[in-house]
């Protein structure tokens, strides 16, 4: 079995790949119906690295913890985030994990193992270093995994956090996503090295570059890095080469991208297609296994959508509580009660 994955696991990975893509397609439909509030961010063409890297972690109550970015929906699903939670977040529903306070994938469940990001790029690297530091202090065999985009590696926060973790030899894995774009900015305007791995080596940690659209390669690299970190050997950097096939967000028409480039990646280098081809070529699973999963995913996404699409937005006054543990709620402004 490739990467020592049992066929049950191979199908589970396929399930998460398919779920990520189908769920995002559903979000696009809802976006077009103006049911999504704010922007919509796609990971089309990058689902492989998100799912495979998360799948290589130890999952379940209080195991490893990762910090996803807007294009790591797949990694959250692997850690146990539910499609209905994602749908509710994007539609700012009262029942969404953040009760309509924050957007899209910006939410967390530390027990399941994911910490929601904030928009300010790079900030999650120091924060995840702090989580890894806690694992080390408590001698818990746990790992913190943080994703960072090729563009976000230019931020001071990324530098401070990665260096901090490297010096302290914290159990942390960083996935550097070389997806060829930071909004409209290409890598050559973002850094002067060819590979993010070169950059990472400057922190005194091992760094590898893998084919980000090869599910098995990403899975194996992450497993190796996580096990190594778990054994107390410190931070490990994994660069995944992939491609952002959609715009920065749905509004972005990608006029700055040579169209044939997207075409080519879609046709020849789609992570899901490549995964399926290999599974079938090597007779690891049957076409029926896969179409069964496709059907199951469709049903799940349909049911999740139906269950929440008509849910109410949060009650206005619910905006006040929870700024502090104590005092319990911000005061209502005086003129609201005159």
């Amino acid at each position: 079995m490739p990467a020592g994955l049992a066929s049950g696991q191979l199908l589970e990975i396929y399930y998460y790949l398919r779920l990520t893509r189908t769920l995002e397609e559903r979000l696009v439909a809802l976006y077009r119906q103006t049911k999504v509030i704010g922007g919509l961010f796609r990971s089309l063409g990058q689902e492989g690295e998100s799912v495979a890297s998360a799948y290589a972690l130890e999952r379940g109550r209080n195991k490893d913890i990762l910090s996803p970015l807007i294009r790591n929906l797949g990694s959250m699903l692997v850690m146990g985030a539910q499609p209905i939670e994602i749908l509710r977040q994007y539609m700012a529903k009262a029942n969404s994990p953040t009760r309509g306070r924050e957007q899209n994938v910006h939410f967390n469940d530390l027990e399941k193992g994911y910490l929601g990001q904030i928009s300010h790029l790079g900030d999650m690297v120091p924060v995840m270093a702090g989580i890894a530091m806690t694992f080390k202090m408590r001698r818990e065999p746990r790992v913190a995994l943080v994703y960072v985009g090729d563009g976000a590696t230019s931020t001071g926060a990324f530098h401070e956090g990665l260096n901090f973790a490297a010096v302290q030899r914290l159990p942390m894995v960083i996935i550097g996503e070389y997806n060829h774009w930071a909004y409209s900015t290409p890598p050559e305007k973002q850094f002067a090295v060819k590979d993010l791995a070169e950059k990472a080596k400057g922190y005194g940690i091992p760094a590898v570059t893998v084919d980000g659209n090869d599910v098995f390669a990403v899975y194996e690299a992450t497993k190796f890095a996580a096990d190594r970190a778990r054994r107390g050997k410190g931070v490990h950097f994994i660069e995944v080469k992939t491609y952002r096939r959609k715009g920065h967000a749905e509004h972005d028409d990608q006029h700055y991208v040579p169209p044939e480039e997207i075409e080519q990646w879609a046709k020849q280098n789609d992570p899901v297609d490549r995964y399926v081809t290999r599974l079938l070529d090597e007779r690891l699973v049957t076409a029926d296994d896969l179409s069964a999963i496709d059907a199951r995913v469709r049903t799940e996404v349909d049911e999740a959508t139906d269950a929440c699409v008509d849910e109410p937005l949060p009650d206005a006054a619910s905006a006040l509580p929870g700024v502090y543990a104590d005092p319990p709620a911000a005061e209502r402004l005086w003129y609201r009660s005159v």
């Binding site: 700012a92 928009s119 900015t185 937005l313 949060p314 009650d315 700024v323 005061e331 003129y335 005159v338």
Partner: protein, 326 residues
């Protein structure tokens, strides 16, 4: 004379200054071929070349710091923050290095840092901020915040020509919502440090800036119609240095002041305005200076929550009524 949007006026102002003065250049994230997240610099790279419209890495401290270095050497950099929320990453560079440069070391640092700010657009806590209060106790820095099409253009031009660093705040909600005609030909410059009377009135003054200027004007109309109240609306336009003369003048005229801003109540700049009125026009007050502001919470994302947290026209109406009857 064609009608143009607030955004187009800002764009024109930038464009004209780039044409007028070759020392002016733009740097920021995705400002080049892409033309900026809100298309403020759309077409600039084509016209002025990539050497004067520079796509930078995602590094706000470097953007502001590099702008400062270039300004020391005689250039006139205009740095864009993709959203003004990200200026927090350059807080040290702007407050400690840039703002103090003239005073501590005699360095001239004529830079403009500009970017989209403000809420009412479902941006959530990190794409809706109003950072003015965090920079108000920064001697050496100027802060401008236009609310009209004319001032969007007049203030960007004045900021670029100013000898000191200017933080230029542009409200996203105004970008395409506000339209006006500008006289062609004659040059539009809005002097920094001068407020504007957006509406004359005699019973009560609303002191405000940015998006809430429009909500205040709406409220003033309503109060006129429904209560026969004559409400004056003062648009500060420049927040630092503040136009004390204009503030005192309106207090002396109406004797009642309502300060309206979109930022949270606690620590918002209404406090500073209140203190200045106390010091300079206390005897003229026929009632307490009151505030209409956002609630003291990070700005939530759901429309129901955002609308509840941010000041709305009805809030201004209610507060003004209460104060008028005081």
């Amino acid at each position: 004379m064609a009608e143009i949007t607030f955004l187009e006026a800002l764009r024109q102002g930038l464009w004209e200054e780039m044409e007028r003065d070759e020392r002016v250049f733009i740097l920021g994230e995705d400002v080049g071929i892409y033309g900026g997240a809100f298309k403020v610099t759309d077409g600039f790279a084509k016209r002025f070349g990539e050497a004067r419209v520079i796509d930078t890495p995602i590094a706000e401290a470097a953007i502001v710091g590099a702008a400062a270095g270039a300004a020391h050497m005689g250039l006139r950099p205009v740095a864009e923050m993709q959203f003004i929320d990200f200026i927090s990453c350059a807080y040290d560079m702007l407050t400690n290095y840039v703002a103090t440069a003239r005073y501590r070391a005699g360095l001239s640092t004529p830079i403009v840092v500009r970017g989209p700010c403000g809420g009412y657009v479902r941006g959530g806590p990190f794409h809706s901020q109003n950072p003015e209060a965090a920079f108000l106790h920064t001697p050496g820095l100027k802060i401008v915040y236009p609310s009209t099409v004319r001032d969007a253009k007049g203030l960007i031009k004045a900021s670029i020509r100013d000898e000191d660093p200017v933080l230029y705040l542009e409200h996203k909600w105004l970008y395409r919502r506000i339209k006006d005609q500008l006289p062609e030909g004659d040059e539009i410059i809005t002097p920094i440090g001068k407020a504007r009377t957006a509406r004359e009135g005699k019973h009560l003054s609303i002191i405000t800036y940015g998006a809430t200027v429009w909500k205040s004007l709406e409220a003033a109309d309503k109060l006129e119609k429904e209560d026969g109240l004559s409400v004056e609306v003062v648009d500060l336009r420049t927040l630092l240095p503040m136009d004390d003369a204009a503030i005192v003048a309106t207090v002396q005229k109406t004797n009642k002041v309502l300060i309206v801003h979109e930022d949270t109540r606690t620590g918002g700049i209404a406090g500073e305005i209140t203190a200045r009125i106390n010091e300079q026009a206390f005897e003229w007050l026929d009632g307490p200076i009151m505030r209409v502001t956002a609630h003291d919470v990070p700005l939530p994302y759901a429309p129901t929550l955002e609308d509840f947290v941010l000041p709305q026209t009805d809030d201004i109406v209610k507060a003004a009524r209460w104060l008028a009857n005081y």
